[in-house]
Structures are given as C-alpha cells and as structure tokens.
C-alpha cells in the first residue's frame, strides 16, 4: 500500500510536465487532463485513507523510501515519504479542495487563452504541496516548501502583462525567501546538532540536547512559518497576492499553502514542546497576527483583500493554537481543515461575484447581489456563518476550542491575555465578515457603467463553478461537527501530536457563551454601520486607524522606505564603488605606468652617441661597483 504514496505526487507532477511540454496542441484538452490527474491523486488519497482507517493506531504511519538523494559524508538526505495521520489529513484536504478548485477553474478560466498553462501550474502546486506534507525529512519538506512558493509565484503572476501582478508575484516569492532562510538555518542546526534532519531522527534525538539549541531551531522554524503563512512581520505579501486569479487565491492563499506554516510547527511539535520560549514566541506571533489581519480585513473595500485579511487572522488563530503545545496542535489542524473549507468557499464565492461583475472587486460597487446570484449568496452566506463561528457550524467547533486552549495557556496573566485576544479576534472577525456580507449581497445596487460604458449584468455562474461552491459549503457546515463527535479528530491525530486536555482559567461554558456574545456584538456593530444606512460608493476618509488599516497598517510603507529605498541606494552606491574604487585602483596603476613610460621614452632620442654615453656611464658605474666590492 505504501508504494502508492509516491503516486500521490506523481499524478499531478506528470500533469504539470505533460501540460508544460505538450505545447499548443494540448490547449483544448489541457484543463481536462489537469483536472483528471488532480482527481486521480484525490482518489489515491482516499484509497490510502480507507486503508489507514483499516489499520490499528500503532502502524498507521506508512513509510516509503524511494532513493538516496544527497549522500555526502554524514549528510544523508533521502527521497522518502511518510504518511501518518497528520499528513493524511493534509493530503485529503489538498487533493480534495484542489480537485474542486480545478473544476471551478474550468469554468472560471474558460476564456483565458493560457488556460493550459494555468492548469499546469495548478498541478505543479498540488505536487509540491503534497511533497511538502508527505516528506519524511526537513530537506525534502524544504523542496515542497519552495515548490509551492514557485507555484504561487507563477500563479500570482499569471496575468503577467499586468505589472501589478508581476510585482506582487515577485514580492511574494522574496518575502517567502526571507522565511526560507529560517527553514534552511533550522535544517543546518538540526544537522549539526542531531546529525540528521529526518523527522524520526530529530524526534528521537530531541531529548539529548540543550534547550538553547532547541529554542534556536524553534525560532528559525517560526521565521519560516511566518514567511509562508503570512504572519507578522512577513505578512505583507498576502494582500498583494490577491492579484492572482481567484481560484488561486482560494486554493493557495486560503486553503492550503498558507497553512503550511502551521503544518511545519505542528510537525516539529516535539522540538517546540522542549523549547517553551520558542512556543511563547509562536503564540505571540499568532496573537499579533490574528488582530492585525482582522483589523486590516475591516478596512479593505476590495473583497478579495478583505478576505485575505481574514485569512491572515484565521491562520493567526492556528499558529497561536500550534504555539500552545499539545493542548492546541489538534485544534490548530482542525481549524486549518475547516478553514480550508469555508475560506475556499468564500473565495470561490467572491470569484463568482467578480465573474458576474466584470471582475469588479470593489465591494462599494456591489450591493444587493443576492437576487442576482442566489447560489453564490447561499454558499457564501454559509461560509460566512462558518467563519464567524456561528454555533453549530464548522468554524464554531474549531475556533471555540482554540479560544479555550488560549485561555488555558497557563493559569496566570498570559492565559487571560491570549484568551482575551482570541476572543476579541472572534468579535472583529464577525464584524468584518458581516461587513463584507452586507456590502456585497444586501442593500441596493451601487454599480455603475465603467469607463467603457458597459454596465455589468450580474448573473449566476455556470455549474462548473457553483458545484464546487456547494460542496465546500457542505464542508463548512458539517465538517466541524463531524470532527467533534466524541473528539474523533483529536483522537485521530493524537498518535502524531499527543494531546492534553486544556484547563482554561475560566470554565468552558463561560468561554463558549462569551464567544457567542462577542460575535453577536461584532455582527451587530457591522449591521449598524453598513446595514442601516447606505454604503457610500467613494470610501469616506475614515479614522486614522482605518486609513492605516487600508494601507495594511503601513507595513508596506515601512518596507518601501526601509528596504526598497535603502536597498536601491545601497546597490547604486556599491555599483559606483565597484566602478570607481575597486576598478579605479587597478586602472590607476595602469595609468601611472603609462605616464612613467611616456616620460622614460624621452630618453630615447635616437642619437647613437647619447646611447653610447649611457653605455659608457654604465661601464663606469660597473667598474666603480667592482672596485667598491674589492675595497670592502
């Protein structure tokens, strides 16, 4: 059975290769091939899942060793896969949602002449993401890690003719690279500390080294996670990444890739468990990000950017949970899965809206769309309810648990702080999601004819797009509940990420109640602001915070001033230095010799007699020298 694991990756990889190398003759069937292979991968995943369920808890972890990759001295990297419950969860999520989004894209990208390429990239992404989650050592994980980065680069910049898209793609890749430094340093540290970087080896050897090393490794892993999962301070790329086609935003920048950071931290749980400081850092980053993203989400008028902000903050929740240790890992993953469902659903809904609105993204130009696109409205609405954690829906189950765990961080002030933050986040989430909902589907229509004069005619999207949305909607409604039936999900993951029951500082029911209250408050506020009075088409000036939030809380400006400008000056001055200083020294020497020889050649006046004089003088000097030598 474990021999099938490689096939998981092979199928989409094959698809990417075929579609890229196939050339134009595949243009017509390309999307079909891509989708078929995605589904093939999904099928294999399901098969493996069923097989895994059939096994006893102990030997559920499958292992497949393909070949030795980089053998140099003590440095032994293998191409080997490991499929345990954690990986399985991801595989199912990735292949499942991935396949759905392939289907959706068939409709969404129908009129794009580079559709074949798009599907090739999607397959490439699937392959890379699968490698990431089923790798059995950190180096192979790194391959997948960068692979998804590449896929995301290609897909964000898919419409390369738009400079904004190209820039956004580049930015995403670069910021991710900064994170990758963390991952690579972490791997090097593991190698120098444990002599291996395979999950198993690290797991065993963790106990045998000091906490300092482990903290360092943990922080480096956290840096990597920040880059990939758009956590503060490396979150700036996610907003721009929305330049990509919407299915991409749904798959990569909502459901799967951006959650890789969470996977990394959970996967390295043993290290973090042994390094409390690192864990604290993780929790802080998560907490900060979840507020940050939420605030940004409140201010954006671009529907996708608003959703991006919410993604950021939801991942903040997961990271926070992952930082909480054994009490949080399982919930982090659970929220990750449910979030995968409803956020993908939301994005697909947004895509459907844009599809109907001539790719208009400004929510202030929407309004009252529920009449025009009912299916989208319903699915989007369900996703909305799920994400704000409406009791009974998926979001509620997962997020509520995280909040509990946050309160259970310790029985001191920190527990209160983190719990409070989580709670507050829930409220803000409710606020901005309600805002999005109202601005998009309620109120009266606010769209006008665009510059070209053609007024958008909102209409429901084709089946190929609505079906995936419906499926995802189901997921976002029931998944959470299913997982929480006598803690099925937690039990399922426990062998990998051991699980301790959280003991919050206040009783669980109280937390649940307060959560509900808070989200109602948020939703109510949003209703008061956007539901009661009409939404202005041109955004009001807004408070200082609002304006800052519209600009991603000035993070980009900071980057621009400090990094971009500074970098430009640095390089420019260095170019100057290289040309005038480093090169100048050499050229100067050359010039000096030139001048000297120019002077010397004056002596060569061509008169034999003056040459004779020099000869004669030379002889004289020689004699003098010999005499002196004799004298001394």
């Amino acid at each position: 059975m474990e021999n099938l694991i490689a096939l998981l990756v092979a199928a989409p990889l094959l698809g990417a290769a075929v579609l890229l190398c196939g050339g134009r003759r595949l243009d017509r069937v390309g999307h079909v091939i891509g989708t078929a292979l995605a589904f093939a991968s999904f099928g294999i995943a399901v098969g493996l899942f069923v097989d895994m369920l059939g096994r006893s808890t102990e030997d559920r972890s499958l292992h497949q060793h393909l070949f030795s990759w980089i053998p140099v001295g003590g440095f032994q990297a293998d191409i080997a896969f490991q499929l345990d419950q954690l990986s399985m969860t991801f595989v199912l999520l990735i292949t499942g949602v991935g396949s759905l989004i392939h289907v959706y894209s068939m409709g969404y990208m129908e009129h794009d002449e580079r559709r074949r390429r798009f599907f090739a990239y999607l397959n490439l992404f699937l392959a890379a993401m699968l490698i990431l989650v089923i790798a059995d050592n950190y180096l192979l994980l790194y391959v997948g890690w960068e692979g998804v980065g590449l896929a995301s680069y290609l897909l964000i910049g898919f419409w390369q003719h738009k400079p904004s898209a190209a820039t956004a793609a580049k930015k995403a890749f670069l910021v991710n690279r900064v994170g990758d430094i963390g991952l690579s340093i972490a791997i090097m540290l593991m190698f120098t500390t444990f002599g291996t970087f395979a999950f198993g080896g690290v797991l065993e050897a963790t106990g045998e080294t000091g906490e300092g090393k482990l903290t360092a490794i943990g922080l480096m892993l956290l840096l990597a996670a920040c880059g990939k999962s758009a956590q503060v301070p490396l979150q700036s790329w996610l907003g721009d990444a929305m330049e990509g086609p919407t299915p991409v935003s749904a798959l990569i920048h909502a459901a799967t890739m951006v959650t890789a950071g969470v996977y990394l931290i959970v996967r390295s749980g043993t290290i973090f468990n042994a390094a409390p400081d690192a864990q604290l850092a993780v929790v802080i980053v998560g907490a900060v990000t979840l507020l940050f993203g939420a605030i940004v989400g409140c201010a954006k008028d671009d529907i996708k950017k608003a959703l991006a902000g919410s993604t950021m903050s939801q991942i903040g929740y997961m990271i926070m949970a992952a930082g909480l240790g054994p009490i949080g890992y399982a919930f982090a993953i659970m929220h990750l899965v449910t979030h995968g469902f409803f956020k993908a659903g939301l994005f697909l809904g947004a895509g459907s809206v844009m599809h109907g609105m001539n790719d208009e993204v400004d929510m202030r130009k929407y309004g009252g769309l529920r009449k025009y696109m009912p299916v989208t409205f319903v699915t989007f609405g369900l996703g909305y309810l799920a994400i704000i954690g409406f009791p009974g829906l998926s979001g509620f189950w997962s997020k509520d648990k995280i909040i509990e765990a946050a309160f259970a961080y310790d029985d001191g002030i920190r527990g209160w702080i983190f719990g409070g933050v989580a709670l507050l986040g829930a409220g803000i989430t409710a606020f901005y999601m309600t805002r999005v909902m109202i601005m998009t589907f309620f109120g009266e229509k606010r769209w006008q004819p665009d510059a070209a004069g053609n007024e958008p005619h909102p209409h429901e999207s084709p089946k190929s797009m609505t079906i995936p949305m419906i499926v995802l909607a189901f997921g976002s409604v029931f998944a959470g509940g299913l997982f929480s039936l006598n803690e099925a999900f937690v039990k399922w993951l426990e062998p990998v990420t051991e699980f301790h029951h959280p003991h919050p500082v206040i009783s669980v029911p109280a937390i649940t109640a307060s959560t509900v209250v808070v989200l109602l408050l948020g939703a109510g506020l949003a209703y008061l602001q956007y539901g009661r009075r009409p939404v202005p088409v041109t955004p009001p000036k807004g408070s200082l915070l609002t304006r800052a939030a519209r600009r991603d809380l000035l993070q980009d400006d900071f980057n621009h001033v400090v990094l971009v400008r500074g970098g430009e000056h640095l390089t420019r001055s260095l170019v100057y230095v290289d040309h005038s200083l480093v090169d100048g020294v050499v050229n100067g020497t050359a010039a000096g010799f030139g001048g000297l020889s120019g002077r010397l050649r004056r002596l060569q006046n061509g008169f034999a007699r003056s040459y004779a004089v020099s000869m004669f003088g030379g002889t004289a000097i020689l004699i003098a020298a010999t005499l002196l030598m004799r004298a001394v």
């Binding site: 060569q604 006046n605 061509g606 008169f607 034999a608 007699r609 040459y611 004779a612 004089v613 004669f616």
Partner: protein, 99 residues
Amino acid sequence: MNPVNYLYLAALLFSIGATGVLIRRNAIVLFMCVELMLNACNLALVAFSRMHGNLDGQIIAFFTMVVAAAEVVVGLAIIVSLFRSRHSASVDDASLMKL
C-alpha cells in the same frame, strides 16, 4: 720608474679616445678615436706582457691590430657609402633609432 706608468698612460689615452667618440660627430674622427682606444689597449697589453714575462700579451695585441685593420677597412667603406647617399659624414644625421 715602474712599468705600471705605461698602464696609466694607456688608461689616459683610452679615456680620451672614449670621450672623443662621445663628443665628435664626424664619423671619420669617431673612427680615429676608436683607433686611439684600441692602441691604448695594445699599449696596456704590451706592458702586461712585459710584467708577466710572457708573449701572450703581445700576441693579443697583434690580433687586436689585425682586427682593427679589418674594422677600419669596413668602417671606412661604410662611411664612404654613407657620404655618397647623404652628402655628410655626421653620425647625427643617422638618428633613425628613434621610433
């Protein structure tokens, strides 16, 4: 008196000849100065042969004379043809060594 004086004389003559070579521009006079130097050497050789009491010095002086004769013959011939080509016997006119 000491036969070394001959050597002093030879040195003196040699230096005078050399200076002449450097100063004069007329090729013929130049040659004469060269001859003067050669003769000075001969004198020295002869004196040496007297001091060492063997004839090798004289032999070498003899050869010097012969070579000098040959040299003069060729040299003068060169001067003549030079004079024909450019109506002057000044060596500075032949300052073609400059690039």
